[in-house]
Symmetry: C2
Subunit: 119 residues, 2 copies
DNA sequence: TAAACATATGAACAATTGCTCATATGTTTA
DNA sequence: TAAACATATGAGCAATTGTTCATATGTTTA
């Protein structure tokens, strides 16, 4: 049974028309998954706070932990997630590892989020 | 013991300087929470798919369920979450309820997300 | 008013997630 | 080389989350 043979409220004269529009704009399955995974990373206030610190400077793990009043382990786990999403990058300098923002989208995305909640 | 009396790697000559910068830019606790809550909403591929459908048209619940091959209940639960975040709005017309995008930030945020994962 | 249709919602369950604790890895220094 | 320091990571646990199922609410129509 095709998707457009429907029993439901049948709002559109042509479901085919809507389906064509939707299918044209809908990203691939993989892209949808990646998008959701990306936003999940922003969906935790600890990671948001880490990003806000990195807005100001390149910071090492122990400083991040201290600034945010959290354990080194907790911060390290979250940095791993941020790095896997390519939102931050790291650089080792002696015993310390310094983290910084990986690209400009981070700022834009968070700025848009703030605009939304502030309106 | 003050936050800036630290035992840790002491990268910054003046932790105070960094702390001042961070504190200046860091949003309120409530804002951080709201931001994370907002991005959590984007962090699910079903909700992303719903938003992509609404990019094209105002659509009723049963059509959304059909287009996305999901149950009416599942869609309805997700629409509630999207509505609570003021990402979509609804309008009743007879037995049907039509949903549409609530504001322009939705498009911008998703567009920035796609740019990030495509790069 | 009763039946049919469209949507909303609460409970329950499996799956995911963020933190802690213990410990491993990597680097410097005595 | 051994000890100290900085970071990373795996296991475990409580909390959160997305779906299903059953059912309630709201609207139209026979």
């Amino acid at each position: 049974m095709a998707v457009n043979d429907v029993e439901c409220c049948e709002t559109f004269q042509t479901h085919e028309e809507l389906l064509a529009l939707v299918n044209a704009g809908m990203p691939e399955e993989d892209t949808l998954y990646d998008l959701a995974e990306l936003f999940k990373v922003f969906g935790d206030s600890t990671r948001i706070r880490i990003l806000y610190v990195l807005f100001e400077a390149e910071v090492c793990v122990c400083d991040l932990a201290e600034i945010l009043h959290m354990t080194q382990s907790a911060i390290s786990h979250q940095l791993k997630i941020l790095k896997q999403s390519r939102l931050v990058k790291s650089r080792r300098e002696g015993k310390s590892v310094f983290y910084s923002l990986a690209d400009a989208h981070v700022r834009t995305i968070i700025a848009q989020g703030r605009e939304h909640i502030d309106e």
